[in-house]
Amino acid sequence: MTNQPTDNSEQGILWEVFVQAKPGLAHKHAGSLHAADAEMALKSARDVYTRRSEGVSIWVVPATEITATTESDSDSFFDPADDKVYRHPTFYTVPEGVKYL
């Protein structure tokens, strides 16, 4: 796998777009688009993904900069968590009347 952004088409490189819906919330993946550079990617992201007031902040990341798990990793990465229910915070009782939990 290469981490070099490459201009692999006339459309520019692929960018992944993350949009923050409100201040304080996490940026969520909204989709992707093609652009020649980061500035153009931001502008296009504004037009493509926030035209119906979906966001207050945008991140764009070259798709090649994202390292992802693969299908073949699934067994070792995720399956071991399946039988460890004690990792969920469900084994103690919350006293009645406690606020702000």
């Binding site: 688009l33 652009a35 020649a36 500035e39 153009m40 502008k43 296009s44 037009d47 493509v48 035209r51």
Partner: protein, 254 residues
């Protein structure tokens, strides 16, 4: 000329600029070189149509003949339109559309900035709302002008051709007549002579950065749209497409 009549004229001029430019940009829908540009151009188109609706509604209200924005947009003939010739120019290639957009965006931006100080409540509120949209349009078109002008040999040539073609339509942006004078005197609209140096400075700076040169038109500038409703050969085709449906089926509803 009464102030009311002058204000009507002025609203029609602003409204027609927005309407015709919006219509032109809308022609790109589904045809741009990539999805992202397609959406960007049609976003700008929708902003312009939105501005046209506000302006023509207010014009219809002032006119007090029981008309509405749609009647002004779809049931006026070519000679009654008062847009600048620049906005009716052909889309051409993407470079030509973006060049037209840039030249107009810078003009519209400074005009709206000035109208934010208007003594007229509607124009002031309209300008304060619209200047945000146009600030974005201007950033978008400026970036593209620089990117393509200072791009490849081919993109540079296309952009220079566009500047050469469109430059002669920029003089009309700053023409004024009695309508302007009446409204300038009441503090409702700015003197376009004051805006011209701002426009020239900004346009020259960006064209320089884009390695594009301003053509020598030997003092010639096209004129006729804004003052007299005398349009280029393109205008009839724009109106034919824009007005066909409401005229052939006046009762048509969405």
């Amino acid at each position: 000329m009464t102030e009311e009549k002058a204000l009507y004229n002025y609203l029609i001029r602003l409204g027609d600029n927005a309407l015709i430019l919006g219509q032109r940009l809308g022609e790109w829908c589904g045809h741009a070189h990539q999805l992202e540009s397609d959406i960007a151009l049609t976003n700008v188109a929708l902003d312009q149509i939105g501005q046209a609706r506000l302006l023509l509604s207010e014009a219809a209200r002032l006119q007090a003949e029981g008309k509405d924005e749609d009647q002004l947009a779809f049931h006026r003939d070519e000679h009654d339109f008062r847009n600048n010739l620049l906005v009716e120019m052909e889309n051409g290639d993407f470079g030509q559309t973006i060049t037209r957009q840039f030249l107009f965006d810078v003009y519209q931006f400074h005009l709206l900035k000035a109208l934010c100080q208007s003594q007229n409540d509607f124009l002031k509120a309209f300008a304060e709302k619209s200047v945000k949209e146009v600030t974005y349009h201007r950033n978008l078109s400026r970036d593209w002008v620089i990117r393509l002008g200072d791009g490849t040999e081919k993109s540079h040539q296309k952009m220079q051709n566009a500047v050469n073609l469109l430059w002669q339509y920029t003089g009309e942006l700053f023409e004024m007549d009695e309508t302007d004078e009446v409204l300038i005197n009441s503090g409702i609209v700015p003197d376009l002579n004051d805006l011209r140096p701002l426009w020239e400075k900004e346009v020259k700076m960006v064209l320089d950065e884009a390695t594009l040169t301003i053509p020598d038109t030997r003092g010639y500038m096209a004129t006729g749209g804004r003052k007299k409703g005398e349009h280029t050969e393109y205008m009839g085709y724009i109106l034919a497409e824009m007005q066909y449906l409401p005229r052939s089926m006046p009762e048509a509803k969405w």
